[in-house]
Symmetry: C2
Subunit: 648 residues, 2 copies
Amino acid sequence: MTTNGRYRVIIENVQPIVDNGLHPAKRTIGERVDVTAAIFSDGHDHIRAAVMYKKGKEGKWTEVAMKHTSNDEWIASFYLNEKGEYFFTLQAWVDHFETWHDGFIKKSEAKLDLKVELLEGVVILKKLSKNNPELISVTRKLEEAKYAQAIDLVKDENFSALVRANPLKEIVTEHGAEYSIIVEPVKANFSAWYEFFPRSASLEPGKHGTFKDCQRLLPRIASMGFDVIYFPPIHPIGKIHRKGKNNNVRATSEEPGSPWAIGSDEGGHKSLLQALGSLDDFKRLIAEAKKLNIDIAMDIAFQCAPDHPYVKAHPEWFMQRPDGSIQYAENPPKKYQDIYPFNFESENWESLWEELKSVFLYWVDQGVKIFRVDNPHTKPIPFWEWVIAEVKKKDPDVIFLSEAFTRPKIMASLAKIGFTQSYTYFTWRVTKSELITYMDELITSPSRNYFRPNFWPTTPDILPYHLQYKGENSFILRFALAATLSSNYGVYGAAYEFYENKPITDKEEFVDSEKYEIRHYDWKRTNRMTDIMTMINKARKENKALQSTWNIQFCTIENSNLIAYLKCTDDLSNIILTVVNLDPDSSQSGYVQLPKVKLKLSDKINVKLTDLITEENYTWAQEWNFVEVNPNKMPFHLFKLTVQESNM
Amino acid sequence: MTTNGRYRVIIENVQPIVDNGLHPAKRTIGERVDVTAAIFSDGHDHIRAAVMYKKGKEGKWTEVAMKHTSNDEWIASFYLNEKGEYFFTLQAWVDHFETWHDGFIKKSEAKLDLKVELLEGVVILKKLSKNNPELISVTRKLEEAKYAQAIDLVKDENFSALVRANPLKEIVTEHGAEYSIIVEPVKANFSAWYEFFPRSASLEPGKHGTFKDCQRLLPRIASMGFDVIYFPPIHPIGKIHRKGKNNNVRATSEEPGSPWAIGSDEGGHKSLLQALGSLDDFKRLIAEAKKLNIDIAMDIAFQCAPDHPYVKAHPEWFMQRPDGSIQYAENPPKKYQDIYPFNFESENWESLWEELKSVFLYWVDQGVKIFRVDNPHTKPIPFWEWVIAEVKKKDPDVIFLSEAFTRPKIMASLAKIGFTQSYTYFTWRVTKSELITYMDELITSPSRNYFRPNFWPTTPDILPYHLQYKGENSFILRFALAATLSSNYGVYGAAYEFYENKPITDKEEFVDSEKYEIRHYDWKRTNRMTDIMTMINKARKENKALQSTWNIQFCTIENSNLIAYLKCTDDLSNIILTVVNLDPDSSQSGYVQLPKVKLKLSDKINVKLTDLITEENYTWAQEWNFVEVNPNKMPFHLFKLTVQESNM
């Protein structure tokens, strides 16, 4: 027989939890969490429920009353204002005080005799008085009052408030399990990434860029409002089987190779390519960037060129073939002879794991706080789970971006086990319905609790078909979507700014890819895109509503070329309405519907709008409002809304 | 660091499990179980997976290979042929043999050099030979063959078969958790219930029926094909506050009272109402019914009339009010003074639980194997979980039907914690879309693994609006739906057979309800409904496809009054197509689409149909076929389909 058979309330389907508590749910500082559960009891008695939460294992529990929404679903919300691990659990109980009070009111309305009910009320109040001496006087009053007065006392609104304020916890269902929520730095959820190859940073054509050149670009990128600069690998590049321009299998001796073919006689994952500069140069760059509130994100690509020092020092970390050679990467019949993958099935996996962990820790020591991890889906998921946890033991603020453009469940799994942010399918979601469906999936599916999207219109690896040979309007509208749909987004820097749009025929790849050669950009030049990036990043910084991905609500607009969405802070103090024209060529117009319930609008609507890009002002007095977007003027509107007080 | 960091395959989202393994999934003897999971690894290597299952904790594991369906979802199916508890778990691994073989074929097609690959093949085969000596000769052959021959050997279909047959389990991901499936008797999933009040069983008008009268009705009910007879409570009926006709608060001394007001000076839950006969009479009835393959289902209503012996003997099991009275049932402002509920919050809950358990065990000892539990949702769910498990320790075959017409999550919870079958919302699902939506919910939601529906068109408590004042066609079509949609169904016996259709005004209750008075039925009479019940029950017994609820597939038919659904056995040896006309008044027709994929039909369709009710025969040679249902002839078709061999 169970130890306590008296409890009657059942608690099921608690959220947010990830894989039944196997992994923590994720939030960032200042975010709200909505704890929900199915809670019910036998019979007609009233029940109450509470969420208990605490910061850290040793923290003190805070109790938040839950509210019934519908169909036995309950909710309690609270804000997570500190970094670190929170824990929560639930309690629920039959509340005989509330049950008694509700029955009393109904019986009194039906004019039933209430003598015994009054006696019962006194019994309950005496119980409650033990913990709340303030109730002693009410109890005495009820006890001493004459019948009619006593009934009036209980029917009084003050008495209802007293019932609400004094839960009678007698036989409590403790949910038992404690679930954890990991609260990460704000940047985990709100970041604007600018990617460039340091070797292309020189202002002088034909010269190999250096960290010092990068440092000179900092003011430009900071003034555009980006807060993460991400570099492809900056380690020594393999010389054996080095790839040439356009992935040619033979490089000339002049060609720089792909930065992802890591390691040579110059060193490996803890070394820097000498042509870029010294470790001191790199550390100075990190420090200078930090002053501008920019983090330098480093690429971690755990693979080796054939001349990487590991290959000689630790042949046991690679797959040996029966002919004595080392297995290069392949996807039959394709061969990648310039890359040796690690063999994570090695019997010496422990030393391999330790060494790879030490790579992260080494760069953390140099000041790197953000890692963009290359192809994590080609290394074992259990390894990432371990190494991310290890690095976070040293510095819990480190951010890991998963570059896993792969199948949905693998992307999800990497996010579950610890990656802070993830590349997404946004790159290929183009039509209005594709975009809405994808956002809905991100926001409302269980992945909301662990998968933080980072939207990229292009990357050095991907020039999607819909941007090939396209003009600036297309690039601008995709940028606006990335930066306003998702609070984390990134661009393949100058290539995007200057509309690089030429693919290898029939492929979603850039021709003359910067991956295999040094590019010269005119870093002094700015254009329409530069301005728009600057203005949108400014709007993102000044408007808290744009600092979350989770608060999006799409608005109805009867034009399949126009997509409109609202983002608000919980308190409605900041409201942004974005309308993007998905047609880069023609002006499109339509009526957009304001979400009245969400905005708490009365029938008398009075909403002021300011376009944060054009600074034009409008007043809307109706639920449905005409919007026109002329892409040649600006492919989108970014409206800040002010709901006039009379409506609230 | 984890103890084994070499495994690379991840297993997630295993099904069927209930609340992450908190409760067993349910099946019945002979049912198939489809174990599914998301299974994936890093990289491009081939993976394999297997389900391991065993009967009983001490059983030997059987391994079933899983197959990939799509999007990293895997499945393995097997049949559960024995009663009792099964356990299953999963394994998955990177299969280097399969990876090697697949790469070999692709490289050979690309005419790459395969010398090293051949050496690798020999290494793998040698590993496998340790466990499978039959591979030694193949290994030697490959080792000794010349290059071209060796390649041909590997490319041969026999070699592919060898690869498939020889999984190379090197570093296995063991899922770890073992989940249980409880396999119950066939009757848990396939039963036809006939409910009647024993006191109405007399053939002589005005006489109180007896168990002996019930015994005389057995051949009638058996010939109609029912296999469960369910009696409302047969215990002594309270005399204090006894209810009269139509729930009158004052009964005359002649009135029999409601059987659900249990207990009087004659005894309580372990006694029988003397007017019905002796315990021996009851046991004889059970035995005689058993000979006809009928179980007698007993009603368990855990509540007491004020004169129940428990009230005096165990006042601590009831709620005492401050004035010394015992709390009667109420739903303020309604009072039910004839009923004392048990107080499950009693400090003496343990003795109460033990006593209630002993009630079940007492009747199990008398031969009762099926209990219909009255209002389980007004007693604590933890109590039911315990008492059902306790009763099953004594006899695992006992079936519990939950009469919880209440909110969805409570109904679901009762099913999860052990009730074998449940009453459902079918009673109120009337239109085609309501019926399809409801069936889809039952079949495809997680509840499929624990909630076994039992469909009732009416009960003594419920005469739904859509049957009030309705004629025989309405009763027939609802009967046909109940008995063919769900493999478990029941009818409120003679009242349904003879179309009792008069409600209390504005309520879904019978006027002059049999709950409060003795009814006289002309048990010798039969009618069109009697015949249809007989024929449908016969069809259910003779056609395995109708013995499951889980195999339903709705067919498209462009008429909202016609609903069509197919049920098949897994091997398609038995196929039943039911078409019901939801319009009781008019003939309806339309074209029904045969599910070609499900029935494995080629383009040359040749399907023979026999209507199991009218015995008419048809041949269908097309995907879309005309059907007409004239309710005045028969409100439904029950077709048995035979797919002619040429199509298969």
